[in-house]
Structure formats: structure tokens, C-alpha cells
């Protein structure tokens, strides 16, 4: 039994500046969460990641009360010039858009009066009930960012046995473009849960490139639910390179609402011993002539578990849909586990949809080939691992960002023993 996980309506009542409608919404969500509890494997969406079991195994106490922490300094990335936002434990701390024109970008703490649909995902319910922090980022029409935006997602060292809830909202208006890199730095040596709900709206011709990467290994248990709405000719790409967490589930739901939208989900991760990572996607093709492309690659060390559940839904009117998904796993040990569940649900008759999934271990002949050129077995294996992930990294257009990601992956892989 988990102690201290006493979430009650008092906690909600204590939040200030809230309409009665908002209070009702929060209380309703809290009741829903209390009724279901943490999701377990009986829920199809959590089939391969029994979160209830994971929580019970890892936490004796869990506390959902708010924490306000300050930090002195965050070390900025020096590899390329960028704008930035600092989030501290999910809370918007500060921002700097020195490379951009004034008046084009609005950044503020999350507006808690935004209305959301009630869902049956208990972690979203919990988020709707308790989340107070997060950011809202709005980009005006016809504005292309000159430099990338890095979101420094910082967790302080005093976070221990906590469950943090935060919410973000990003809107890219008509004909605008932004590249966002979410960079997580975790100073806490303790276990904690981070539960994020993020809403993204891409208007006509808007373009968003999103990339997430982790600075260091940590004891975090992360869940992020992304809900995207895309309009005419909008272009969305999400590059997921984040690894190093004990548990990480990224749940992406993308509605392609109007014609000629593009949606790319690309991931290359190296999971260390005992890490558990899941990417779950639902791409809703709701209009004709849209394109979705998913490519997910995972390298799995001993006792690690990788999951990919990818669903493509094609509505009857969504003719000429082009949807593709591929997942590949490289298993480094007998105890590594990979679960893949591709799903296609198609109601239109003139579409191109395909899926594939492979898993295997490192090829002995390739190791031999590299060793005949003087490489040690371990170095040969590392080279093959990096090569395996590289075809996702190669899709990053900016050379400086690509090199940065490559160096981070290299750190992860080199820090690992392959034997």
C-alpha cells in the first residue's frame, strides 16, 4: 500500500483564483482517478506497461502536494545559439527570446481556465485534477523563428517520492515555424513521477519540429500525453531521443483535421539496464491527402523493456492517405524485452498504409568484420549500436543539432558495457 498518496478535494479547494466551473472539472477528474487508480495491464493502452505495478514496486510513499523550488543557475547548451525557456519541476520559471522579434511570441504560465475533454486515461484525469503549472506558448501568424527554442526541463534535487503534474500548451499560428528542443536535466537522485499533459495546435501551413533528449540518467518515472490538432498543410515532426529514465511513456495523439497535413514520429533510443520506455501513438487521419510517417528504433540492454504501440486510424473520407510505420529493436541481452503492437483501422478505400516491425540481436558477422579491422569486440558492438540509431539521427536537418544529439547518444552508448 502506498502511503501519503492522499489526494483529496481540499487540495483543490486550496488552489486560488479558480472559477467554480474549473473547480467542478478538477473534482470530477479527481473522482475519476480515485475510481480507477493508476492504470494497469488490464487496460489495453497499458498492456505492456503495468503502471500500477511499477508504482507499487518503486514507491512506498508518494506525495502529490505542491513543491516550489528555486535553482541558482542552469548550465546552458553552448553547441548552438538558441532561445530558451526554463521549467523548474514543470513550473515556468523564466524565458529568453533574444534572437526573435518582439511581439511575435507570447509565453506565460498555463491558463487554468482552458476547457478539456474528460478522458478515461486515469493519468490524464489526475493531471486535470491537480496540474497548476506549466507554460503556454503562442506564436503569431507569419513568423518563423530565427533560432531554435530550448526548453530546459529542470528537476531539482529535493524532489523525492513526489508526483508532479503539469500542463503545457503550444500554438503555432498560420504560416509560422518553430523548432523546439526539450532538454531534461534531472538533479534529483530519488524516485519521483512526472505527469505531463501537452496540447499542440498547428494552424494552416504551420510547422513545428519537436525534439526531446535527456541530459543524464535518473530515477524519474515520466508520463507525457501529447494531444495535437493539425490544420491544413501543417507539418509536425517529433524526434524522441530521450532515454535514461527508469520509466518513460510518451503517448501521442495526433488529429490530422484538414487536408495535406504531415505528421512524423521519429525515435532512436538506447535503453540502459532496467529502463522501461514506451512510445504509444494514435494518428487520426480525418481528412484526405495527409501523410504520416513513424520510425521507431530502440536498443535494449539487459533487463530493459521497450514498447511501441502505434495505431493509424483512417476515416472514410480520408482518401489518398499515406501512412507508414516501422519499429525496430536491437536486443543486447537475453533478458531484454521488446513489445510492438502495430494497429491499422482503415475506413477509406484509396489509401496507402503500411507497417513493419523487426527485432534481433547484434549480427556476429558484422562484429567479426569490424574486429578484423582492429576494433575491440566492445567497440565494434558500440559502433553497430550507434549505426543502428543513426538513421533516425540523420533525419535531423540542422547539422549543429544533429551533432549535439549524436554526442549525447554517444555518451549514453559509451557509458554502457555491452558484454
Amino acid at each position: 500500500m502506498i502511503q501519503n498518496l492522499e489526494i483529496n478535494s481540499n487540495q483543490i479547494s486550496q488552489m486560488n483564483k479558480m472559477s467554480s466551473k474549473q473547480r467542478k472539472f478538477r473534482i470530477k477528474n479527481l473522482e475519476l482517478f480515485k475510481k480507477i487508480g493508476f492504470p494497469n495491464k488490464r487496460d489495453e493502452d497499458w498492456k505492456f506497461s503495468d503502471f500500477r505495478e511499477i508504482v507499487e514496486k518503486n514507491f512506498k510513499t508518494l506525495d502529490a502536494t505542491e513543491i516550489i523550488s528555486k535553482i541558482n543557475k542552469i548550465k546552458l547548451i553552448k553547441d548552438f545559439e538558441h532561445n530558451y525557456i526554463f521549467l523548474i519541476n514543470g513550473n515556468l520559471d523564466s524565458s529568453n527570446f533574444k534572437y526573435e522579434e518582439k511581439g511575435k511570441i507570447k509565453i506565460s504560465s498555463i491558463n487554468n481556465e482552458t476547457e478539456y475533454q474528460i478522458t478515461d486515461n486515469p493519468l490524464i484525469c489526475l493531471n486535470h485534477a491537480l496540474a497548476k503549472h506549466g507554460y503556454t506558448l503562442e506564436i503569431s501568424k507569419n513568423y518563423r523563428f530565427k533560432k531554435s527554442l530550448i526548453i530546459y526541463n529542470f528537476f531539482t534535487k529535493d524532489i523525492k517520492n513526489k508526483i508532479l503534474n503539469s500542463k503545457n500548451f503550444i500554438k503555432v499560428s498560420e504560416n509560422s515555424e518553430v523548432h523546439i528542443i526539450e532538454y531534461t536535466i534531472n538533479e534529483s537522485k530519488f524516485k519521483f513521477i512526472n505527469n505531463v499533459f501537452e496540447n499542440i495546435i498547428l494552424e494552416k501551413n504551420a510547422k513545428l519540429r519537436n525534439l526531446s533528449i535527456q541530459n543524464n540518467q535518473s530515477e524519474g518515472f515520466f508520463h507525457k500525453h501529447l494531444k495535437n490538432k493539425q490544420y491544413n498543410k501543417s507539418d509536425y515532426s517529433n524526434f524522441i531521443f530521450s532515454s535514461g529514465l527508469k520509466f518513460n511513456k510518451i503517448d501521442i495523439e495526433c488529429d490530422l483535421l484538414e487536408e495535406n497535413c504531415k505528421c512524423n514520429i521519429l525515435s532512436g533510443v538506447f535503453l540502459n539496464n532496467e529502463e522501461h520506455q514506451e512510445i504509444k501513438t494514435l494518428i487520426n487521419h480525418l481528412a484526405p491527402n495527409c501523410l504520416s510517417y513513424q520510425r521507431v528504433k530502440k536498443v535494449l540492454s539487459a533487463e530493459s523493456k521497450g514498447v511501441y504501440q502505434g495505431k493509424i486510424y483512417v476515416k472514410n473520407i480520408a482518401q489518398k492517405t499515406n501512412a507508414y510505420q516501422l519499429s525496430k529493436a536491437l536486443l543486447l541481452h537475453d533478458s531484454s524485452e521488446f513489445n510492438s503492437k502495430p494497429e491499422l483501422e482503415i475506413y477509406a478505400d484509396d489509401v496507402k498504409c503500411s507497417h513493419g516491425s523487426t527485432s534481433g540481436s547484434i549480427d556476429d558477422d558484422s562484429i567479426h568484420y569490424l574486429m578484423t579491422r582492429g576494433l575491440k569486440k566492445e567497440d565494434a558492438a558500440k559502433l553497430l549500436i550507434k549505426g543502428f540509431l543513426n538513421d533516425v539521427v540523420e533525419l535531423i536537418k540542422s547539422n549543429s543539432i544533429k551533432n549535439f544529439v549524436q554526442s549525447k547518444i554517444e555518451e549514453h552508448v559509451n557509458g554502457h558495457r555491452t558484454d
Binding site: 567479426h368 578484423t372 579491422r373 582492429g374 576494433l375 559502433l383 550507434k386 549505426g387 543502428f388 543513426n390
Partner: protein, 244 residues
């Protein structure tokens, strides 16, 4: 340099090499010819240290027992194998791989490792020497290379890694005449009194361009005949059947 005495090699309990004897001295180029299934590639694999073979007999390289030396150390000590079927390694840039490879060999020899600039200079020099377009070095290792390009890449690797004993396992098969000349040029330009070569081939064609000091005929796991370069010409006329 290389001394093989009564070498027996089996894989999955099947005996392939059945008592092979061969001695290669510094500066010599030996050619091994033989029909399909005679054990030519097995010999190359065993010399490179490939897993899966049960080995008996003596295998010495510069006086050291090769059987006790790992694959990578063999390379570091100067043995190079040009593969019959070079492997495609997706995601690994050819240049980066070659640099890692060369530096691990230099490091093992106690020599100074090359930085990117001097490495690229070396690559440029060697590839132009061979008449190979250096562009394919910025591609992924052997991925999408034609058969000829893969073989040329092997020879370029040989030139850059600068081994003392190079084993070419049917490097000539599947090559057009221009590619064949490039391969031959790669070998001939490396020959000196310290470097040795073991060229495994099916055809005499390659030996028109590379003059061997000795030609051996391998049949059913044994060397059944040894001669000078004339032997290759004779084989081309008569075939292997008459010999066995």
C-alpha cells in the same frame, strides 16, 4: 612470417581443411587457387580468427601462436583480410569507421593516433593513388555499394591500414576489367620486401596483373600442388579435375 603446419579445421563437425601446410616469407606473394568447396575461404576465415571453427595443427605469425590471438589483435599485429563478401554496416560512416580502425591499430603499435585532418589527408592520398572516388567514403560502410565498389573499398582499407600480411579472399570475383586493374594496382603498389600477400582466387585472370611468387592448388582441404606463376596458366587450360 606465416607458417601453417598440418592445419585441420572443422565447422559443425565437418572437416574442411585436412592437413594444410603453407609457409609465407616476408616480401612474398602467394596465390591459392582451387575449385569450389576446396576450403579456400575457410583458410581465410581461420587466419582472420573467425568464430565457429575447431582448429588443430600449427598456425604461426611472426613466431606467435595465432590460435591464441583474438581477431582484433591479429589486425593490430598486421594481418588484414579483404572479404569475399564485405558486410554492409548501416548507419556507420565509412570515414569514421576507417579512422577508428586505423587509430586502434596505431595505438596498439604504440604509435601516435591521427587527428581528423591528417587522416583525411591520408585517405585522399591513398584513394587518388588507387583511382578511387573518395566520395563513397562519406557514405555508410558498404551500404548500397555495388559489388565492385565494395571490393575497391576493401583494397582502400588495406592501403590505409598498411598491414604486413594481406589476405585477399576472391577479391577479383565479379569485377569488370577496370576494377580488376584497380585491385591489382592496389596490391602491386604495396609490394615490398617486408610485406606479404596471400591471394585466393578462382581464376588466372587476376594473376595476369599480379605476379605471384608461388601458386598453390588447394583441393579437398590440402595443398596438392605448388609451382610458380606458370602453374596458374596451366590450370586455366586444363582445369582442376586433372590434378585431383
Amino acid at each position: 612470417m606465416l607458417e601453417i603446419k598440418n592445419l585441420i579445421a572443422s565447422i559443425n563437425n565437418k572437416k574442411i581443411l585436412k592437413g594444410l601446410n603453407l609457409k609465407i616469407k616476408p616480401g612474398e606473394l602467394h596465390a591459392i587457387m582451387g575449385p569450389n568447396g576446396s576450403g579456400k575461404s575457410t583458410l581465410a576465415n581461420v587466419l582472420s580468427g573467425k568464430n565457429g571453427y575447431e582448429i588443430a595443427g600449427e598456425l604461426k605469425f611472426n613466431g606467435e601462436n595465432l590460435k591464441e590471438i583474438s581477431v582484433d589483435s591479429r589486425a593490430q599485429k598486421g594481418i588484414f583480410l579483404a572479404f569475399q563478401y564485405p558486410l554492409e554496416i548501416p548507419g556507420v560512416n565509412t570515414n569514421n569507421f576507417l579512422k577508428t580502425s586505423l587509430n586502434s591499430i596505431l595505438k596498439a603499435k604504440g604509435k601516435k593516433e591521427l587527428d581528423s585532418i591528417s587522416f583525411l589527408k591520408l585517405v585522399k592520398e591513398k584513394s587518388s593513388e588507387l583511382g578511387i572516388d573518395e566520395k563513397f567514403l562519406s557514405r555508410q560502410l558498404n551500404v548500397g555499394f555495388s559489388g565492385g565498389e565494395k571490393k575497391k573499398n576493401e583494397i582502400l582499407q588495406m592501403k590505409i591500414l598498411d598491414p604486413t600480411l594481406s589476405i585477399l579472399d576472391e577479391t577479383d570475383s565479379g569485377l569488370d576489367i577496370d576494377a580488376l586493374k584497380i585491385i591489382a594496382n592496389g596490391v602491386n603498389s604495396s609490394r615490398n620486401n617486408k610485406k606479404s600477400f596471400l591471394v585466393i582466387t578462382h581464376y588466372q585472370r587476376l594473376l595476369d596483373y599480379i605476379k605471384p611468387d608461388y601458386v598453390h592448388v588447394l583441393s579437398d582441404g590440402k595443398i596438392i600442388k605448388t609451382g610458380c606463376s606458370d602453374l596458374a596458366e596451366e590450370l586455366e587450360k586444363t582445369g582442376y579435375t586433372k590434378l585431383s
